[in-house]
């Protein structure tokens, strides 16, 4: 999706487990070569800041930094594309 939409910046914000697990997850999903920016938070600080209590979870912001929608579970590609087309 990120490759199909160069104007959309996808930031993968991981937490839980260990850095080793995080690196294995990125390697197994071939995410290192994707357009997704992958980072890992060892302290949960970012998740606590966002109020995230389950995963996966996603939040979509428009180009003005305004939150459009946020949902738990798989990413709704249709909802994301609608925002990009608007």
């Amino acid at each position: 999706m990120a490759q199909d939409n160069p104007d959309l910046h996808v930031l993968g914000l991981g937490a839980q487990d260990t850095l080793e697990f995080a690196n294995e997850f990125v390697a197994s999903g071939d995410l290192a070569n994707s357009a997704i920016t992958m980072v890992w938070d060892p302290n949960f600080a970012s998740w606590r800041d966002y109020g995230i209590r389950s995963q996966p979870y996603w939040i979509l912001y428009d180009d003005q930094g305004t939150e459009i929608t946020s949902r738990p579970g798989a990413i709704d590609l249709g909802a994301v594309q609608a925002v990009l087309d608007a």
């Binding site: 959309l8 910046h9 930031l11 995080a22 980072v39 890992w40 302290n43 996966p56 180009d63 930094g65």
Partner: protein, 144 residues
């Protein structure tokens, strides 16, 4: 033998001479008096001249005041310099033109300022440094 007219003329002439001699004497006296007076006046003259000189310095003071006025005239020239300083303020207006650019910067998503590990480089960095302009999808994931 003389006629009465001639006698009268002679008498008149004598009177005239007498009057002239008296006038001359008096003028001589006047002259001498005048000389004495002038001598005294000469003493007094310097006194009179002195005040005149005092009056002369006065104009000099006025002349001194006159330069002061030009100095005051110079001050307005200094006032002209601030006007030149006002021109740079006009240069500040382009900075106002920079504000819209700042507005564009404000459109960049603000993320929490927490330390995270970049899985591309393995280095710690502030999460906010990964923010980019444009629409953003933040995906929360866990390795397990």
């Amino acid at each position: 033998m003389r006629s009465p007219t001639r006698r009268a003329a002679t008498a008149a002439f004598a009177l005239a001479l007498a009057a002239t001699s008296c006038a001359g004497a008096s003028s001589a006296d006047t002259t001498s008096t005048a000389t004495i007076g002038s001598a005294e006046t000469e003493v007094a003259a310097p006194a009179t001249t002195a005040p005149v000189n005092e009056t002369v310095p006065a104009p000099d003071d006025s002349a001194s005041t006159a330069p002061s006025t030009p100095e005051t005239t110079t001050e307005p020239e200094t006032t002209t310099e601030p006007e030149t300083a006002t021109e740079p303020e006009t240069t500040t207006e382009p900075e106002t033109t920079t504000e819209p650019e700042t507005a564009t910067t404000a459109a960049i998503l603000q993320l929490p300022s927490v330390d995270v590990v970049s899985l591309a480089t393995g280095e710690m960095a502030d999460l906010n440094s990964f923010s980019r302009p444009g629409a953003t999808l933040v995906w929360f994931w866990a390795p397990h």
